[in-house]
Symmetry: D2
Subunit: 344 residues, 4 copies
């Protein structure tokens, strides 16, 4: 099969490493360039213990190195702010881009400023960026050249939320999202707060009063559901590497019908599984896979709890990025993403 050379910028963080892992096992994409910041000049295998085979011996290019001409697709796994400039450069060089940062997830500069507290260097690109929550934007992704890969919390929240918003049965003013994430979601920077002994055997909430992803959730619950939505969002960090469990405390009408709505919405989706009514998922059931498992418990006619599980590095980041990239190049959406959860 003809190979499509791709570049990964920001390749030594956890999402970058996961992109490498997935692409190494992908029948069509092929890693042709790895960009790094502080680790530039080293071999990939030196800084990422899971990295083996010939890619372990690929040298990490500087962050601003020119991209090889034959690279057709660039994954940017860079901090917000820094990503936008690399995205612009890649687009100008004629590449397609899947951006894993938050830089192109918003439609207005005002919302971006509110959420991230900085000016955006390239707001002119907002209009053509496609928000790649694949299940809800397949057509646009397929024809896009710049995909904004959704955040992990928005992915796990919006998949069950948007279809319910659309029904009009959900009370969109009282949505409470209590999310729990594995530590890899916090990134790979040298920070005392992320040391093993600081996170192990402990749990804490963070990002209050308003985490950045709240804006993203509200914007796209509206975008995909068609109704203004308000979320109260509290994320927590847990002592585990991977996995994200999002508990949605919801109110509305006719909650008995919600399970059917979700089942119907996702009946043919390869990566979203709605569990039987009353059965709730665990993150162990999805870790290492690109799947989102959704369960619902009806508490009463007007109240329900929905639990949604993803692997934050797969469906919450690099897996969904590959899913989007597959569509951008006319490939089968599931290509290279068929592994089941690594359990236990």
């Amino acid at each position: 099969m003809i190979k499509i050379p791709v570049a990964i910028l920001g390749s030594t963080g956890y999402t970058g490493a996961e992109l490498i892992r997935l692409i190494e096992n992908h029948p069509v994409f092929e890693v042709a360039h790895l960009g790094a910041h502080s680790q530039a000049g080293k071999m990939a295998g030196e800084v990422m213990p899971g990295c083996a085979g010939k890619i372990a011996d690929m040298r990490l290019a500087a962050a601003d190195a020119e991209l090889p001409e034959d690279v057709a697709l660039v994954f940017t796994a860079l901090p917000h702010g820094a990503a936008a400039n690399s995205v612009k450069k890649a687009l100008d060089a004629g590449k397609k881009v899947v951006d894993l940062s938050a830089d192109f997830r918003h439609q207005s500069h005002d919302t971006y400023r509110a959420a991230y507290g900085v000016e955006h260097p390239h707001p002119e690109l907002f209009s053509e960026a496609v928000y790649g929550l694949t299940e809800f934007s397949r057509q646009q992704v397929a024809s896009g050249r710049l995909i904004a890969n959704p955040g992990c919390y928005p992915t796990s929240s919006l998949l069950p939320l948007a279809p319910l918003v659309k029904t009009g049965l959900l009370d969109t003013s009282s949505i409470i999202i209590d999310a729990k994430s594995g530590a890899s979601g916090a990134g790979r920077s040298a920070n005392v707060g992320l040391l093993y002994c600081e996170l192990n055997e402990s749990v804490k909430a963070y990002g209050l009063p308003r985490h950045r992803h709240a804006w993203e959730m509200e914007e796209w619950a509206l975008g995909f559901g068609g109704e203004p939505v308000k979320v109260r969002f509290v994320p927590h960090i847990l002592p585990m590497n991977r996995g994200m469990l999002t508990t949605l405390h919801l109110s509305g009408q006719d909650t008995g019908s919600w399970h059917g709505v979700l089942q119907e919405t996702f009946a043919n989706e390869p990566f979203v599984r709605v569990l039987p009514a009353g059965v709730l998922p665990s993150t162990a059931g999805v870790s290492g896979s690109n799947r989102c498992d959704i369960g619902i418990a009806v508490l009463g006619e007007h109240e329900a709890v929905i639990v949604s599980c993803i692997d934050n590095l797969l469906k919450g980041a690099s897996g969904q990025a590959i899913q989007n990239a597959n569509l951008m190049f006319g490939l089968d959406e599931t290509m290279g993403l068929s592994m089941h959860a690594l359990w236990p």
Copy 2:
């Protein structure tokens, strides 16, 4: 100092072992009898690795063995249902009792039946049982002979909740409690679902649609706060031994004043610490101590998030049991409970 001999029934589970640990370090209480079920006949040190010193060589008595005459106080750390009969027997023999099971936490047989799905063998004792959430029932505990030690989830929830209910500022119809517990809360029975590899690197919700502790919370939020209260309660189990973090998603009036209400309520409490406004606790800060740490984040005039952390085996079970026992015998409430968190 004169010693007070005590008995522990159900001594080989995690709460039983924690009682032993605490009493071994207590200046007045002294372990005089250990009752066990399946492990009866063995030495304490054989079945509890943390158990050392002379108590390691104490033989475990059968569950129904007669209690030594000089035992003045019995801790029952038995499954609900089983506990009630042992409590009755101990009271009849003239002992005081702190019951760590759920058998005497409810004031009506109907609520007990609803929550536990069984008939209670001794409902006649309900009226004299004191619900020992110590901070709110000190007087009654001091003069009680049967203390119902609160559940771990109700303890961490009610400490911040009851004072706010009392103010009338809290919307008592929209309380959402999303709790996260370490695995020791699930007990020490041979159950595939509790194996290391089943819980490690994973998180899940359980106990839906209505966990037993929801009844206990509603009953005592009313009892201590004086207003009928409705809670939506979703517990989760986390990959850590100890620790419980409870996130309360609350609505109401004048949320800006709530921090002050909590500060005032707990200003002189030895075991409850209200953190500065906006600072949220982690379970690492309380594990190994009998403390409850409470933080609040105000989201808006009508919305707030309160996070409450305890060690489920201490303030959530055996620590609070000692705290209550201290009061029952006229001892300093903090006796034997002064250790800070074991961190990290």
Copy 3:
């Protein structure tokens, strides 16, 4: 591609679940039958959280159910003793077998008795069983109909050990093997000693004075190396799901040459990687992959430490089973086994 239907007996343990996961992603093998003991009658997805897709809805057959006629290959992931009878039955029905138990790893009934303390029901099959440490017995595996899949500890130990034994430079009378295994190696039975809270935040040695795998190591170090060998072997269980790190404390001659011996031996092996001299592996670098990473530190002319890492469920069990099965059916040895480590 034409599919080869396979059966898994003992499919609900951790090695059984891992076989399912690997076969689901295998281009040629296809799960046609799942046998189970206590869980028979349930759906696969009910008892294995990671199990999704159509296989989740496959019903678990009874342990002694007849195998479908078109099944060409049977994986037996059963306890030793029980496995032998199933193996016999499958062979008699004309199937090929990869046995993951210890039942056919020994060449003499005496050694089996010494190691396992029981009589073997079918010692007549010993002579045709092939010990499938693939790298050292490729030819025999390819033509075998009964493969004894090696134990996890012997796999991680023998890969570096056997080539050194062969050189004559290793002192074969002073081999000390100190091994550390993740908890999945202890299996999935309802046992208090395997509960989360018993293993978490702790480490212990077990299996002394002589663990069963010591016999297997000595037999095959001799078998592959050609010299009688004596090992002192101490296994430990660690608080992690997967991964095995084996530290070999070795003495001998000309230790400076050992790194070269290992490099040469494994130069073309797809699943064994010898790290640069002085670099030592971690289990994180191999978990989720079928790889064995080997590092050596020379302490002096006569002393060296070798560290060998595998994922106990992959190269230490189900991965190597697939590797062997590939050879038995003339397939590429790496088929379905190309995933890199899941890191972090």
Copy 4:
């Protein structure tokens, strides 16, 4: 009781925090001064989550701040090299010192240089420093003014080793020490290699070919045992906060008598427990306590395995420091150290 004011220099690392915890619960010592480096100026409670009560509001002094006059004892929990200068200053100011660094553990400058690769600023103090492995140097500790608190690995190794060396039954040329430590032993510095996701679900060896503690072990095995000793020492880091398990692979004569030697040696020791023959300890049995648990498995007449467990922050560091300090001030050696293991 009259209080003795103490200072802790390097108070915000894990050993410093553990000293605070222990002293807060000590009947005689009282924290009067906390010195810190990068965190100076902050409150103790801000940087150490477990720190509560009045000490949480104590401000951290600069590393070189003058010590209060009434401080009688200084604990230095500083990096080697830095510690020596602070020790000198404290001694000159008339304080007693327990130094938790490696700076005064060696008797010759040459050994120090070999192990640490730097010049020592105050070798003139070597002669008066007492190596405080309390069980073996009680008299000297009691009359010392500078105690070199032993390293964690040497403590867990020397306790069982030294008495056996003394018997002459141990082959002192073939001692192999394979040690496993929790992550807190690696300290609290902002280092990517110590991040949660780098250490969790993994194990690795480090410090080869010769870890610094090997010199310390050999020097004091000789010192306490009276025979020149050679150790091969390989430390590993495990995914857990606390705990150290040391496996000693030993050879010699009459191994059947070794259990008795250890039992006799430690018969009256409050903090060392020799388990029944054949029973091996786990770190869970000692974590949170100042105890060392020792087990022995005899493999043959000439071979034995000894397993020794401590909490690296207690008997391996801060606990032993308090034990030594108690002796220096004529207090009961066990004062403030009586807590059993926090289990689970």
